[in-house]
Symmetry: C2
């Protein structure tokens, strides 16, 4: 295989400002090999990347669904502005990203498998209703009981709501205990992310037995979904942590992250069925049957030190990313879509390292802001990084390891939350989410 | 004056569930009189109210601006989807509410009047640019300095951005010190809100020398505005507290709050110039000249205990509000727009008390949610209540006092933040926001 539009960069060993050694291509190759993941280096065209931000290009509701989103078109009647919940794949993965996300991780508080199974059934029911723009539960016209639905979306359209479920490692085994008799079913690809250099994780805002990602074009609709799913789970599951996010871009353009850079440019390399099968959807050859049509979700809440970043010279900002700020073009090129030329980019830049890691992730991240940081008094804002991939073990962790050690961006970021989940295939009508896991 | 469509309710004294006494009309009358504010009771048609939520009906950008929003149409060229910053009145007050708000209160950290004045000039400049969809500052093509604009809205339209400024009591005098030589100019109408029953205020999230309210139809645009105004203020002003909010309703319909109730139905009683002059815009007769064309802003961040609310029977919810949940109709009526019949409503209901207080506020509130409450683990969500009125002293405080003592809703809410600000008139091109205050 040969590189597109570029020669291999010269191996080099430099020191960056902070005195940390930059990484040469050769070193990166060794590191990838050591990680034992079959990652390969420097393949520009086929080439690998992991964008820091990973915000997909946003699409208007009227646009064609992406290839995998089509999997979700079943026989159920579709409401205008709605995305069917039932399908062979879960919606909210290949679906073009909506404008808002409410992401919640839950702890299952009862070690009762039947209750857990019942909750998955109810959650399926509720999700099918909400994604179709309906209320959950019964109307309760007498008024003697609390209403089933909390009501704040009563007149609102479904706003492209998708609800996506995932199962964390602790659902299979927690503190060595197989609470639900599911330990034997934990996929090899689903492993915890080890501690990384620079981690500043809060345990209470990391992990979780189950995750629910509610994306839509209306923050009220996303909030309502998580709120009602949490409410009906009372006694069985409780929210462990929750984070909302937003993104915005003119149709067809790449959104910018809160560092002001276009981010997610390279994601379109995965926008075809073959690439999605190769990098994102669980491979039948090394997965339990219940994961057929599923995928693995990794989430990192990444604080961005925007106050420090905003004091950094433009040239330094661009060298840190490896792209021009205004145009989004790679160094040495003119347009955002131009192929990356590895020899023009600093070897500790985000793009250089990310391109060099040799695999691809399907990224679906959102910006967040949540008031002021209590300690510094600065704006507490950043990125809820979310990616979907075939393997946490062989794709996500090796990539994160390299970036956590060498990425020049690390000076301006801190990872606050971390979690991984196995997202089962979509549910069919009459079935429920994750049913095959319990059989 | 006579009541519309109703007889006066019978005076009564009841006990509600929590054992607190409900308030009769007669008692309310006495209380109003005691407050010394000339408030009057039970005037259905002209009648007073203070809606708990106070979310205005949302309007699409293509709709006619409200009467007072027209004041902002000056000779400056208007960009599509933009609302001019310059005008006789500030935008963001009578403007139909956009979908997102980022509200920030600032402390002025230097006791230097010239610096403060210069900051107001720069803020005016920045605001005029951002509301027109432009970047702030210079392009910095050489890249040797940090960019003036943080860049995340580079391709985004202005999204109806409005930026509204207000001056808090502490700008005029703080801890007895007249830091800026402005003490003599503090309006009589601008007074601190005294402690209220049930307050759970955080000092660090209350008050502020200056406030900036950035509303738009895009959360990135609102966030970018506050971020860049905070950044250019470095060394002179620092964000004290910040809260984002959202609202959503189909065009022309009343939005629902997070209790699921339509809220803000009665706000349309103010949607004419005469009512705005009478209740909202500063009266020339008892204001310093620099406030001509201005108004007073009150903000209360109100936590809503949605978990507790969600366990409450529908009938109880409706009796607490005094309206039907689904239709929004007042008790005893069929449609949302029907006149309120005071005798049909429990005397400790929100609508009964609010209607009875005898004056009107122009409400422009947003829902908020911000993760989990650290203590309870419940969703931390509620309302960023914002109202504009002629007088904090004679309108807002008396109303709040009555509601804080008697409103059945108080069982489900807690006030976390509180602040008041004098919003000066709009700036003309060549002038700057608050210029008359400094002359």
């Amino acid at each position: 295989m040969k590189l597109e539009n570029e020669k291999a960069p010269e191996p080099q060993q430099e020191r960056n400002e902070s005195g940390k050694s930059k990484m040469s291509r050769r070193e990166l190759l060794k590191l990838s090999a050591a990680a034992g993941t079959g990652m390969f280096v420097g393949m520009g065209g086929m080439g690998a990347f992991m964008s820091f931000s990973g915000i997909l290009k946003s699409s208007s509701p009227s646009q064609e669904p992406s290839p995998a989103a089509k999997d979700n078109q079943t026989s159920q009647t579709s409401v205008a502005g709605s995305i069917p919940f039932y399908g062979t794949k879960q919606a909210g993965i290949a679906t073009p990203p909506q404008k808002y996300m409410c992401f919640a991780a839950f702890d299952i508080v009862h070690a009762d498998r039947m209750k857990l199974e019942q909750l998955c059934k109810t959650w399926t029911d509720y999700s099918a209703n909400m994604t179709a723009g309906k209320s959950v539960g019964k109307a309760n016209l007498e008024g003697l009981a609390p209403p089933d639905d909390t009501g704040e979306t009563h007149e609102l359209p479904p706003a492209q709501l998708t609800i996506t479920f995932g199962f964390g490692p602790t659902l299979f085994r927690k503190d060595g205990v197989d609470r639900f008799g599911l330990a034997a079913k934990q996929p090899d690809e689903l492993v915890d992310i080890p501690a990384m250099p620079g981690d500043a994780l809060t345990e209470q805002e990391s992990g979780g037995d189950v995750c629910i990602q509610a994306c839509s074009d209306d923050p009220v609709v996303s909030f309502h979904a998580i709120r009602n799913l949490a409410r009906v789970a009372q006694g069985t599951a409780k929210i462990r942590w929750v984070q909302e996010g937003f993104l915005s871009a003119p149709d067809g353009q790449t959104p910018r992250n809160l560092f002001g850079f276009k981010d997610g440019t390279a994601n379109n390399e995965l926008e075809n069925d073959q690439a999605m099968e190769r990098y994102v959807w669980a491979s039948p050859s090394n997965n339990p049957l219940w994961m057929t049509g599923g995928t693995y979700l990794a989430v990192r809440k990444i604080r961005m030190f925007i106050d420090e970043w905003d004091q950094t010279a433009l040239q330094k900002q661009e060298a840190t990313f490896g792209r021009q700020k205004e145009s989004g073009a790679p160094f040495g090129k003119k347009n955002e879509a131009d192929a990356v030329s590895m020899r023009h980019i600093p070897t500790d830049s985000h793009v250089w390292l990310a391109r060099g890691t040799g695999t691809k992730l399907w990224r679906r991240s959102y910006s967040y802001s949540r008031g002021l940081d209590a300690t510094s008094g600065d704006l507490d804002a950043g990125l809820l990084f979310i990616s979907f991939q075939q393997s946490i073990k062989n794709q996500f962790i090796p990539m994160l390891s390299i970036l956590a050690q060498h990425d020049a961006l690390n000076k301006y970021t801190s990872h606050l939350s971390s979690a991984v989940f196995a997202c089962p295939p979509g549910a069919q009508e009459g079935s429920f989410i994750g049913e095959a896991l319990f059989r």
